[in-house]
């Protein structure tokens, strides 16, 4: 085939861990505010030893193309989230309140834009 000569060799194996595993750098969630007056938006996560490094890393990982002018980072363990099982009790009550939407009300055409 088109590739250079293959050389057979023994399979590479990582060294067996000789000491207990070191803890990973904590996980941080990253929020970026874009240029156009929108709020900060979640863009992803990364690992960093502290907040200062998390912001520096977020700059490199998430804003290489002018995606933002402000970064928030928060350690993932500090985020409380609703669970999918609560979906019904949390969000269904708003289903039968269609009058909260402006389209619920018919405004006669002669009234004009409202």
């Amino acid at each position: 085939m088109s590739s250079p000569e293959s050389s057979p060799y023994a399979e590479t194996k990582a060294k067996a861990p000789t000491e207990p595993r070191k803890a990973e750098w904590p996980l941080w969630e990253v929020f970026i505010r874009g240029q156009h007056g929108l709020s900060h938006r979640h863009v992803g996560s990364l690992h960093a030893p502290d907040a200062e490094m998390a912001i520096k890393n977020a700059r490199d990982v998430y804003t290489r193309r002018n995606e933002g002018v402000s970064i928030w980072v928060v350690e993932a363990i500090h985020i409380a989230a609703s669970s999918p099982e609560e979906k019904g009790s949390l969000y269904e009550p708003s289903n039968d309140k269609v009058y909260r939407h402006p389209t619920f009300f018919n405004i006669p055409e002669e009234v004009g834009a409202m």
Partner: protein
Amino acid sequence: MYAQMIKSTGQGVKTLDEMEPQERAFQERIDAGGKIEPKDWMPEGYRKNLIRQIGQHGHSEIVGQLPEGNWITRAPTLERKAILLAKVQDEAGHGLYLYCAAETLGVTRDDLTRDLLSGKMKYSSIFNYPTLTWADMGAVGWLVDGAAIMNQVPLQRTSYGPYARAMVRICKEESFHQRQGFDIMMKMANGTEAQRKMAQDALNRFWFPSLMMFGPSDADSVHSAQSMAWKIKMNTNDELRQKFVDQTVPQAEYLGLTVPDENLKFNEETGHYDFSQPDWDEFFDVLKGNGPCNKERLEARNKAWDDGAWVREGMMAHAEKKRTSKIAAE
């Protein structure tokens, strides 16, 4: 692709009637084009398959930095050097987006890294080929990133939310990669005779390994059928390979270069190019670890991990010290 030969349970795809209510609801959500999010219920097979697929995809981005990093210090101009550096930095970013997505499935970053370093988890076969000349930087961007885009664009619609979102970011950046590669090829193909030969040689060496990136035909694979039902694979390998050939051959003609396949011919009836299959024995051999650069690549990753240990530990210790002295001061 960047994830090759991902195996599922191998039990074949269940029909909706054969599923328990929870799994049926899950499948119906996917069938309706809905997204699965990290905290949602999912079958164990779906979780495991995704960890393997996203992990392998991420590893490919990370290891994929090595063949190109090889040329950063020897780029022909300062501009080319800055561009290549930005491209390689993007690949690191892509690896990180993907690792983040995999971590939402309950695997740790260290687990993924260790499985790469031990050879337990794979990365794409393509990165086990060497980059011998500057023209290879052109061929890698044009062909390798071009092939990756074929797979990644449909994956933006994949059923797992964090994976789909990572793909959206990656696809935005990937188009720069392919264009910078083609730009190098244009320059070389229109350069001196020696440069033109170098460009042709790069195409000769990277053509078949690029076709291998899509993996062997999986039209009859139960693994692929399951992945497609779960929408973590959107097209068959053959579909994507054909699309890649159809798109790339006219580009090679534009460059005035010859695709190294004597059977390559436009088929008026099908509207597609007929082409030769790559050497699948070579593909399996490379996956097994016997490619020209497997050893070098894994050794480079292991060395980086080992040599970086004191930095990771030192920074953690420093962060801990700052934290305790701040508490003491309060």
